[in-house]
Structures are given as structure tokens and as C-alpha cells.
């Protein structure tokens, strides 16, 4: 626990340092311009960034000192369930990888030429990642112990991966397809097995929710290019229930 605090505090210190270097003093490697500290009337745009970064640095150091001296307080009394340190450590690389995928994933010239843009690549990669975690959880044989650390990591990976996938596919594929994939993959990943509940849930999540929010409440949601798949389903629904 104590090490966790120390690592996190170091993280804040690095964050503050970056803010100072990039934001206030300007870093040419990312085309940042220095922010002026003073203005005719008072504090300029750079005033608060600089002083807040410096304050963060000082507080970070102070916290490190405090954690060092008061080790008793930073022991194992957290009210939250405490997994072994392994889980926390393995979440970080998952997060980093997903962040990379979610952000500006580069594309490849060859793919661009046949019309596959970076958006599609992101969508596909995150779908594969998330599906992979889900599969691992679903197919793990009888040794599957839900409370083991490995299972925890995979579950968190599945949730985060599916979230990233959803964000990546929301506009290219539309809300209905995204919701369908999201719920269909997430439920088994978390341990749901009863198809009789899963199927109606997935269908109402993708089609029902869309109907209520887009058609009734007029909340704009991405339709996506697969509208032609859903038109017959919606027509059938109206036919049956009207």
C-alpha cells in the first residue's frame, strides 16, 4: 500500500514537471509556445499553470516525506478490497496499450490505399483485444477460479478493452452494432452464462435503447452504415406489435 502511494505520488510529480516544461516554458518537440506570466492587467495565461505545477511538485515531495514517516497510517487499512500487488501492476500495461489504441493510432500506407483508415484499424484491433480477453475468460477450463488474480486482471482487461472498442466503433459502426458487440462480449466476460437472459438483454440494449433514445427522445446517436440490416428488423417489430 505504501509503495502504491509512493508510485502514485511520483506520477503526480512527473505530471507537474511535464506541465511546467510543456505548458509554461514551451517545448519545441510538440510545438508548444511559452505562456506569458504577466499581462497589462494582472496574471497572464501562464501564471496559474506555472504556480500550480510548482505547488504540485512541492506537495508531491511533501507527501512522499509524509508517507515515509507515517508508515503505520499507510498500511493495510484501506476499506477497499485489497488484491495482491500483481493485479495493480498488470493493469498499468493494459491501460497503456489501450490508451495507445484509443488515441491516434497510425495507419499503414498500404491499407490506406485500399480505403482502410486508421479508424477501422483501431476498431478492429480493440475488438480483437477485447474479444480475446472475453474468450480467455469463457474458455478457461474448470480451473477457472473467479477470485484468482489472473481472472481479475482479465476481467478488468475485458471491461477496459470493451470500453475502448466501444469508443472506437461507436461512430464507424453505429450505436446499435456497438451496443450489440459490447454487451454480447462483456456479459460472458463477467461470468454470465444463462443465454435465456443474455440474448434478450443484448437485443434490448442495442435495438430497444436505440429506439427509445433516438426515435422517441430525439437524442442524436450514430446510425452507422448498417442501417439496412436493421430496417427489416424494425419493420418486423412494428408489424408484429401494432
Amino acid at each position: 500500500m505504501k509503495r502504491g502511494w509512493q508510485i502514485a505520488t511520483l506520477g503526480f510529480i512527473v505530471f507537474a514537471g511535464l506541465a511546467l516544461v510543456i505548458g509554461v516554458w514551451g517545448a519545441s518537440f510538440i510545438n508548444a509556445r511559452p505562456l506569458p506570466l504577466k499581462d497589462a492587467l494582472g496574471p497572464g495565461p501562464g501564471f496559474f499553470p506555472m504556480w500550480l505545477s510548482i505547488l504540485t511538485l512541492l506537495l508531491g515531495v511533501g507527501l512522499l516525506v509524509e508517507v515515509g514517516r507515517r508508515s503505520a497510517d499507510y498500511g493495510e487499512e484501506s476499506p477497499y478490497p485489497q488484491p495482491s500487488p500483481d493485479v495493480t501492476r498488470s493493469v498499468l500495461p493494459i491501460l497503456a496499450l489501450l490508451a495507445l489504441v484509443a488515441w491516434k493510432f497510425p495507419t499503414f500506407p498500404l491499407l490506406e490505399r485500399i480505403g482502410v483508415g486508421s479508424e477501422t484499424v483501431r476498431a478492429v484491433i480493440s475488438t480483437v483485444l477485447a474479444a480475446g480477453c472475453t474468450l480467455a475468460l469463457v474458455l478457461m477450463p474448470q480451473r477457472y477460479d473467479e477470485l484468482s488474480d489472473n481472472a481479475s486482471v482479465l476481467r478488468i482487461g475485458a471491461v477496459l478493452g470493451l470500453l475502448v472498442m466501444a469508443a472506437a466503433t461507436l461512430e464507424p459502426l453505429g450505436f446499435r452494432v456497438t451496443a450489440f458487440l459490447f454487451t454480447a462480449l462483456l456479459l460472458p466476460a463477467l461470468g454470465a452464462r444463462n443465454l435465456r437472459i443474455i440474448v434478450p438483454f443484448v437485443l434490448s440494449a442495442s435495438l430497444g435503447v436505440f429506439y427509445i433514445f433516438y426515435h422517441q427522445l430525439k437524442v442524436p446517436l450514430p446510425i452507422g452504415p448498417y442501417d439496412w440490416i436493421f430496417k427489416p428488423i424494425e419493420a418486423a417489430y412494428f408489424f408484429i406489435f401494432r
Partner: protein
């Protein structure tokens, strides 16, 4: 739920861009049109947009969905608009001259300029107005100008935003009446401006007619001048800056609809037709006038000329605003 289904779905995802572009629309529109408003829901542009949308969609049989993309005084929304496909299914409101100053101000680093859009039709023209609270010592525009000449930098003049049309109007006054100098206070929006004026924290305010019509009628505030060539039908007793001897102080806020650049002229013409009918509709006129917004429909060359003209003015005053010692 098995492996094959997953790969199948993933493969389908990869095929998206290869599925081919949608067929050229013979009879536009064949699917819903998105009408973007670059401000959060509930503002006056948004209300005007929803009124137009609800009338237009009845006529064309397709939904016209209002999409709010607020932020950075409109910059976020206009950036988004400039990147959309020019197929006529995504159009949005542009608010001049706010739109122009964002482009003209180098610090805003806008990725679009006036060539990035295809102007379609203008809806509202809301002239600027100079106003004070009802019990203010200033009874006419002349009083304000004289006070600003006598004690430069002391009269506190409020705008509704940095480089808004109000800000430019103040600069125009300073230019027209040599020797005047205001202490410009930038507030965020009409509500804040109303509050600070009534509270006595600023001495005079520059805003638009639509924002103060009701308060003038209620006697809370006094309008000193309308910065237009002719009197506003909502404030018939208020003189124009032209009448008062300052013909160069002309400023208003206009709201029009535009699409990304490169739109097919046939689609533009169809949109103009649809939207003009909606704007001429008596229900539309009545609802907008109830809020004090004057409709000034402009299409084609008239709108294009206006668009270019405002931009020239915006560049001039933006540069001046940047150099002026106390903004």
C-alpha cells in the same frame, strides 16, 4: 456464442470502408439531416435552430436532428462542421462575426477559414445595441461618449465575450469618436452581462437587441442606440448610430446555415429552397419575433457578399483589438 461468431463480427468491422459509398441521392434528402449548433442546448441559436428544424422536417418528410457541439465560443462546432462530408446531410449554424474573429485571431489557431465552408442561407440578424440600467446617469449615447472622452479608461463597458460582435462595436465607437477610451470588461454571455449591469459593476453594456427587448419593455434597462442602418422594429423609439452621427458604427450578430466546402450546387439550391420555406413560415416568424429576434433571410449572392464583407471588418478590428493596450 463461439469463436466463429467473433471472427465473423470482427471481419465485418474491417469491411466497413470497403462496403462502398452510399448511392448518389437522386431525390435529396433520403435520410435524416443533421443541423449542428455550435453552442450548448438552450441558447438562442439553439432555440432558433429547433424551431426551423421542426418546421422543415414536416415539409421534407425526413427528420432534421439538431446536434449541439458547444465549446470555445463555437470553435469546436465549426471545426467539426468543416471536416464533414459535403453531401448535404450535415450542415450547421455559423454565427457571424464570432465565426470570423475566431478565424482572424491567430492565437485561436483555428484549422478552418472562410473558404472551408459553403454558405447556404441566413436566418437571423440581431443588431447590436448600447444599453444601461434604468437609473443610470447616462441618458443618451452622447453622454456615454462624452464621459469616455473626459476620463479615458474609466467608463466600464461590458461585452458578452472576447472578440464578440459587442467587443468589435466598442472598438468601432472608439474609432468613430476620437479620444474615447473605455475600460472593457469581458463577461460570459448575456445573463452575466445583465446581472453585472443591474448590479452596478459595469457602467454601459454592448449586446444585441434580442437579448434586452423584454427588459426594455419592463422598464429595467434603457437602450441608448441601435448599431444598425435602420431602427429595430422591436425598439422603435431607440435611435440608430447613423441618426446620432456615427455612421461607421454598424454591428450585428447574424445566424446563418452553412455546409462544408465543396457542396454540389444542386444540393445547396435544394437546401436553400427547403430552409427558406421553413423560415418564411408564419409559425417560425412568430416564434422568433416573440423572442425579439429579427429575421433577415439572405441567400445566394446577397449572403455571400455579406459573409465576405463581415470577414474583412472582423480582420481589421481583431488586429486592432490585439494591439490595443488594455483589451
Amino acid at each position: 456464442m463461439n469463436r466463429r461468431d467473433f471472427t465473423g463480427l470482427a471481419g465485418a468491422a474491417a469491411l466497413v470502408p470497403l462496403a462502398g459509398t452510399s448511392a448518389q441521392a437522386q431525390e435529396f434528402p433520403t435520410k435524416p439531416i443533421q443541423l449542428m449548433v455550435a453552442y450548448p442546448a438552450g441558447g438562442s441559436t439553439d432555440i432558433g435552430a429547433r424551431i426551423v428544424a421542426s418546421i422543415a422536417e414536416k415539409a421534407i418528410g425526413q427528420p432534421v436532428v439538431v446536434v449541439n457541439k458547444g465549446g470555445a465560443g463555437g470553435q469546436v462546432g465549426w471545426t467539426e462542421l468543416s471536416r464533414q462530408k459535403p453531401d448535404g446531410y450535415y450542415i450547421g449554424f455559423i454565427n457571424l462575426p464570432g465565426f470570423n474573429t475566431v478565424i482572424a485571431d491567430p492565437e485561436r489557431q483555428a484549422i478552418f477559414d472562410i473558404k472551408s465552408f459553403t454558405p447556404i442561407i441566413n436566418q437571423v440578424l440581431d443588431p447590436g445595441v448600447v444599453w444601461v440600467k434604468a437609473d443610470s446617469p447616462f441618458k443618451t449615447l452622447k453622454d456615454v461618449i462624452e464621459a469616455a472622452k473626459k476620463e479615458p479608461g474609466k467608463v466600464r463597458a461590458a461585452t458578452t465575450g472576447i472578440l464578440s460582435d459587442d467587443h468589435l462595436a466598442i472598438l468601432m465607437v472608439e474609432e468613430a469618436a476620437a479620444g474615447t477610451n473605455f475600460r472593457i470588461v469581458h463577461l460570459e454571455g448575456g445573463a452575466a452581462q445583465m446581472k453585472e449591469t443591474l448590479g452596478g459593476n459595469v457602467d454601459v453594456s454592448f449586446d444585441n437587441v434580442g437579448s434586452i427587448v423584454k427588459q426594455v419593455a419592463a422598464g429595467q434597462v434603457r437602450a441608448l442606440a441601435v448599431t444598425d442602418t435602420k431602427r429595430s422594429k422591436f425598439l422603435p423609439d431607440v435611435p440608430t448610430t447613423v441618426e446620432l452621427g456615427y455612421p461607421s458604427v454598424i454591428s450585428s450578430s447574424t445566424r446563418g446555415i452553412a455546409g462544408p466546402k465543396g457542396m454540389d450546387p444542386k444540393i445547396v439550391a435544394r437546401l436553400q429552397d427547403i430552409l427558406k420555406k421553413a423560415m418564411d413560415d408564419p409559425e417560425h416568424v412568430a416564434k422568433l419575433e416573440a423572442v425579439g429576434l429579427g429575421i433577415r433571410v439572405m441567400v445566394g449572392k446577397e449572403y455571400q457578399d455579406y459573409y465576405d464583407d463581415i470577414h474583412k471588418k472582423a480582420i481589421k478590428y481583431t488586429e486592432w483589438a490585439k494591439k490595443r493596450p488594455q483589451k
